[in-house]
């Protein structure tokens, strides 16, 4: 048995140097030459400031923006570090709800969210992805049905025609890759950036429509404070 220790230790050290240092460091170097945007996290800049990543969803609550899916992410409670508080779209602590289909808490939450959405748009059935939490808690996408459902609210808040908003949604709907891979989706952050460019809220007639952090419009955890302060 003892004669196995030399090869075990030496080979372990060599593999560690090769696959634990050389491999990731070389890849980091190559990636920054070949795919600098992706390797750096697909960050989006606006007016010279980084405002997010095109792959990471944000917690939109204002009426003038399209909202993403409910998020079950949490953060450490600032008052008690052993507890957590809801913090939707916390990109430093990805998580899902992990609630089962027969849980009362699931049905209660979905019932509340559905009632709010029906009040906002009584004319259409509520698309299921608008009332279910995503797996990552930072899903950047919604289904085209979920975007379409929100068009009347956004159009009203921006003072735009519904057709104009629908046109923008259509432009930002990504089809299936190669025609068959995945599902059609709308990237919410990119759509909202396009909305801001097309019809800035400040000049729109319905500007004061939405107090930005109105808890009633928060999609995920109605009781949650909007803060997504992510601790280090």
């Amino acid at each position: 048995m003892l004669n196995h220790f030399r090869p075990a230790i030496v080979l372990f050290v060599l593999f560690t140097a090769l696959t634990g240092l050389a491999y990731p460091l070389a890849l980091t170097g190559i990636a920054h030459t070949l795919f600098p945007r992706q390797a750096g996290g697909s960050l989006i800049e606006k007016d010279g400031k980084v405002i997010g990543s095109s792959l990471i969803g944000q917690n939109f609550t204002g009426e003038q923006y399209f909202h993403g899916r409910p998020s079950a992410t949490t953060d450490t409670d600032p008052n008690d570090s052993t507890k957590t508080v809801p913090a939707p779209y916390n990109a430093a602590n990805s998580a899902g709800s992990n609630i089962g289909p027969t849980a009362k808490s699931l049905i209660d939450r979905v019932k509340d969210d559905t009632a709010k959405l029906k009040a906002e748009n009584p004319n259409a059935p509520v698309p299921v992805d608008l009332v279910t939490t995503s797996a990552s808690g930072i899903d950047p996408h919604v289904s085209p049905a979920a975007a379409d459902f929100q068009v009347p609210r956004v159009a009203k808040a921006r003072g735009l025609g519904e057709d104009a908003v629908r046109e923008l949604v259509a432009q930002h709907t990504e089809g299936r890759t190669l025609g068959f891979i995945g599902e059609p989706v709308v990237n919410v952050l990119e759509l909202n950036l396009a909305l801001d460019a097309a019809a800035p809220v400040k000049t729109a007639p319905a500007a004061p429509a939405a107090p930005a952090a109105d808890p009633a419009t928060a999609p995920a955890n109605p009781a949650a404070p909007a803060a997504t302060e992510a601790g280090h």
């Binding site: 996290g41 944000q58 917690n59 089962g100 085209p144 068959f180």
Partner: protein
């Protein structure tokens, strides 16, 4: 279910079948010690490794020596990873200032990565420093995968060699697998994934002010280098807490498609390697076919169940119908870009194999949808299975199948030219019986202890499923979870680690004994009385044995969890 969903599943399967033979041929060259295209570059590295380690590459090992070498290597791996996690706060490449892990969490994670389980009691972006990700988790993704593949090849040598004494050299198999197979494939895979949007950097997390002016901290890091080998080696331990559901760990539907191909690539190719080594590729395709049948049963059930959605939602006026505008179905805990078809395909594949990565939370699946991953794990992860582990697991069932066939006709069974006798059958039964001991036994313990029950996040039968899934996943070295369970407690960290060790090593050692027992036997040429193991009858028998052994063992436990929950859900009961 939609036509497009089925097109995706079928194209996936066709692509997998197409790469099986070429990759199998490449693996054959590597493990037969022949030179390959990349030997010119890596040959000197390989010889240098042997020289420094004092390994005589020509010296072959008896099965006991081979197994002991593997165990010593795993011990060294465990100690190194345990210490690295405990003291990561004192080491460089820690821009977020992560503290050292608690002893029980470090123990659990070290066992988890050494046994190729990659259970996530740890939280990913909230727990691990970049150095631990690279020097710890990434390295063990490579070597635990190489260990599994080496063991499978050693077992196959037990069949393919005639009247031999030795089954190969562990150090050589380990080194050649890592250098020639895993490393080159991981580099190509990582570059593809980065192109699709996966980060690969060493910067601190990015603080941004969002479009609405809120603060958001975006976790990043050396993701691609870890994820490429995580999938290729069927490891599955995530860089992020949300694993392959995280948009950085699985940015697009195409990256997802690529990752599920990576999971099955080597396990599928190993069936072809088996065929080539025993000089009849048909034998490999027979095993492949049995696996494929079980794969389709799983994915069909899971896809159907999740497409049905949640009956409670229908009453609320929520639209769960699939259409051109939405995937529909049960979307709780799933990502929009994957929808139902790709979430359930991933869930089936990750539990057929012992991967355990997830792109949706199995805990939020409908009862029958969530039962599919659970059953896949309980069947022993032999549906393509983990790298190496899937093949040696399926060979255990194949031995059981020819044994049963032999009993029916009263003739000593043979498999791949070797007589199967009492010793082999005893050993595979020992291996197969260790698994229920570790998963059902531990579940029973946790169900009666307050430390076990306090970890559950769901009530009613779903809570039992959560618990049972945890020990099934640990024992099966899978690593996926009904993620609501709070497993980062000393009780769970330690009992789950024990299950992982039993599931890995108490299975491997008897299987290596089988290899040692078979290798000394003479080759028995096929005669008119030999049960052909390359045809439809054998495939059917093998599928039947896998299902019957699994069914008899686990049906009562499944009845207490997902099955009762299903009827409860239809009756409208909530917990």
């Amino acid at each position: 279910m939609t036509l497009n969903g089925w097109v995706q599943i079928l194209i996936y399967f066709v692509l997998l079948t197409l790469i099986t033979r070429p990759l199998g041929g490449f693996l054959f060259r590597v493990f037969e010690g022949r030179s390959t295209l990349i030997s010119r570059v890596l040959g000197p590295v390989e010889r240098g490794f042997y020289k420094l380690a004092g390994v005589d590459a020509k010296a072959e090992q008896h099965w006991t020596s081979y197994t002991l070498a593997m165990l010593v290597f795993n011990l060294v791996c465990f100690v190194a990873l345990y210490l690295l996690q405990l003291y990561q706060n004192l080491l460089p490449l820690n821009p977020q200032g992560m503290s050292g892990l608690t002893a029980d969490l470090a123990f659990n994670t070290a066992i988890s990565f050494v046994t190729n389980t990659n259970w996530q009691s740890y939280g990913g972006e909230t727990t691990m420093s970049y150095l631990t990700d690279m020097l710890g988790l990434t390295v063990h993704n490579f070597v635990s995968a190489a260990t599994g593949i080496a063991l499978a090849v050693a077992l196959v040598r037990g069949f393919s060699r005639r009247s031999g004494k030795t089954i190969g050299n562990f150090w050589v198999d380990l080194t050649r697998c890592t250098l020639y197979v895993l490393l080159p494939l991981a580099i190509v895979a990582a570059l593809f994934l980065i192109w699709q949007g996966m980060p690969q950097n060493l910067s601190a997390y990015t603080d941004v002010s969002t479009l609405e002016g809120a603060k958001q901290t975006i976790a990043q890091g050396p993701v691609a280098s870890q994820v490429a080998i995580k999938m290729l080696g069927t490891n599955g331990g995530g860089f992020f807490n949300a694993n392959a559901a995280h948009p950085f760990e699985n940015p697009t539907a195409l990256s997802d498609f690529f990752q599920i191909l990576l999971i099955f690539a080597i396990p599928a190719a190993l069936t072809n390697l088996l065929g080539r080594m025993v000089k009849s590729e048909l034998q490999g395709w027979a095993i492949y076919s049995a696996m494929a049948v079980l794969f389709f049963v799983g994915v069909t059930t899971c896809y159907w169940a999740e497409s049905q959605g949640n009956p409670q939602f229908a009453a609320l006026g929520i639209d769960q119908q699939a259409s051109s505008l939405q995937a529909g179905g049960n979307m709780e805990g799933k990502e929009a870009r994957f929808g139902i078809a790709r979430s359930t395909l991933f869930a089936t594949i990750t539990t057929d194999a012992s991967c355990g990565a997830i792109n949706s939370w199995h805990d939020s699946y409908t009862p029958l949808g969530g039962m599919v991953p659970l059953v896949n794990i309980l069947l022993g992860e032999v549906i393509f299975g983990g790298v190496g582990a899937g093949l040696y697991g399926m060979l255990a069932f194949a031995i059981a199948a020819v044994f049963i066939a032999g009993l029916m006709v009263g003739r000593t069974p043979e498999y791949l030219g070797k007589k199967i006798e009492a010793k082999e059958v005893k050993m595979i039964m020992l291996a197969l019986l260790c698994l229920p001991l570790a998963n059902i036994g531990m579940t029973a313990l946790a169900v009666v202890l307050p430390q076990g029950l306090s970890g559950l996040s769901n009530a009613g039968p779903h809570g039992f499923s959560e618990l049972f899934y945890a020990y099934a996943s640990a024992t099966g070295n899978n690593g996926s979870a009904f993620g609501g369970i709070s497993a980062n407690t000393p009780f769970y960290n330690i009992t789950l680690a024990l299950s992982m060790m039993i599931g890995r090593f108490a299975f491997i050692v008897p299987m290596m004994a089988v290899a040692g027992s078979l290798v000394v036997k003479k080759h028995t040429p096929a005669s008119a009385g030999t049960f052909p193991t390359d045809g439809g009858l054998f495939i059917g028998l093998l599928v039947g044995v896998v299902i019957i052994v699994g069914g008899l063992t686990y049906f009562p436990a499944l009845a207490l969890g997902p099955i009762v929950e299903h009827f409860s859900m239809l009756a409208g009961n909530l917990y």
